[in-house]
Symmetry: C2
Subunit: 165 residues, 2 copies
DNA sequence: CTCGGGCATGCAAGATTATTGCGTCTCAGC
DNA sequence: GCTGAGACGCAATAATCTTGCATGCCCGAG
C-alpha cells in the first residue's frame, strides 16, 4: 500500500505551502510573519511536509531565453500497439532524456503529451526523430512549436481557508 | 531593448546551474565540492545568475496526490478571432487563474496548450467551462485528461562541457 | 617584453539563518 | 478531572551565508 492518506492540512499549512511553492527562498522568520507563527514552528511544519513527501523537492527556475537560444515544443504522441511493456519502455525513454521536460499520459486519441526543450527548431526536429521516429512503436506524433510562454510553473491550487471550524 | 545578450557560461556555470535546477536546497559548501570551488565563489556566481535574470526564482515542488485528490489536464485551445487584443485578454486570464499551471501559445491549428490542475474530474469540467466556454472568443477546445504523470519539472538542458578552448 | 586594470578566487571574520532542547499550553479520550 | 499527544514560543547552539581583503591570472596597451 504505497499510497498513504493525505495528511490533514489546516489553513496555516495551506498558506505556508502556497508561499513556498512560489518562493522557497524566504527565511523562516519571514514566512512566520506571513502566517503568524514563530520561525521554529514554521521550520517544524516544513520538516513535516518533507517527511510526509508533500514537498518533493526544491528547485531553481531558469529563464530559458537567458540561457541562450531556446525552443520549446509540445508534442502529441500516439503509440502503435498498446502493450503494457511498450508503454513502460516509452515512459522510461521520456524520463531519461534531459530534453524532455514533462510527459503526461492522457485520455483520448492521443496517448501522451510531451514538452520538449531544444536549442533550435532544427535541434527540435532531430530530437523528435530520435525520440519518436526511431521508436518503432510510435504510430503518429504532432509537434506544436511554442511561440510564447504565457505562464509556466508547477504550482498547484491549494484549498482555500475553510470558513467553518 | 529588454533583451540582453545571454551572459557567457563556462563549464562550471553549466554544472552549477544544472545542480541548482534539480535541487536548490544544497549548501554552498556542498555545491562547491561538486564543481570544485569554495563556498564563497559559488555564492558569488549564484548571486550573478540572479542579477542577470538567469535564475528567475526558487520554488518548492509539491506532490499533487499527497495534497489530496488532484486531477491534471492538458487542454488544446483555438480562439475564434485572431485580434491581438483578444490574445492579450486570453493570456491575462490564464496568468491570473491559480488552477492554470502552464500556458503556451503554439503554432499550428491550435492556438494554445494549457495545463490545468483541479480537484476532481467534475471540478475540471467546470474549470474548462469557466475559462473557455464563458470566453466568447474560444472557438473550440479539447481536454486531454491526464492519467499519469510520467515526468514533470521545469529543468532545461544545459550545454555540455565544451572540449575546445 | 613589461606593466596595469579587471576579474575571479580562497580565506577568514562577521552577520544571518536554521535547528533543537525545554517548559507550557490546548485538546481529545478516558 | 486526569493524562498523553502534539504544537507552540523562547532561547541557546549550530550551521550557513555574506563580505572584506589580499592574491593570482589573463589580456590588452604601451
Amino acid at each position: 500500500m504505497p499510497e498513504q492518506p493525505p495528511p490533514r492540512l489546516d489553513d496555516i499549512d495551506a498558506h505556508l505551502l502556497d508561499l513556498l511553492q512560489h518562493d522557497a527562498g524566504r527565511t523562516l522568520h519571514d514566512l512566520g510573519e506571513h502566517v503568524g507563527l514563530s520561525p521554529s514552528a514554521v521550520q517544524r511544519r516544513i520538516a513535516r511536509y518533507r517527511r510526509d513527501g508533500l514537498i518533493t523537492g526544491q528547485v531553481a527556475v531558469l529563464d530559458p531565453h537567458r540561457l541562450g537560444p531556446t525552443v520549446l515544443a509540445a508534442v502529441l504522441v500516439t503509440l502503435d500497439r498498446e502493450s503494457v511493456e511498450y508503454h513502460r519502455a516509452f515512459a522510461e525513454r521520456m524520463r531519461s532524456d534531459r530534453q524532455v521536460q514533462q510527459c503526461y499520459r492522457v485520455a483520448g486519441p492521443w496517448d501522451y503529451v510531451v514538452v520538449l526543450a531544444a536549442r533550435s527548431t532544427r535541434d527540435c526536429g532531430r530530437l523528435g526523430d530520435r525520440l519518436f521516429k526511431a521508436d518503432g512503436n510510435v504510430r503518429r506524433y504532432e509537434t506544436l512549436m511554442v511561440f510564447d510562454t504565457v505562464k509556466t510553473g508547477l504550482a498547484l491550487p491549494l484549498p482555500a481557508p475553510e470558513p467553518s471550524r
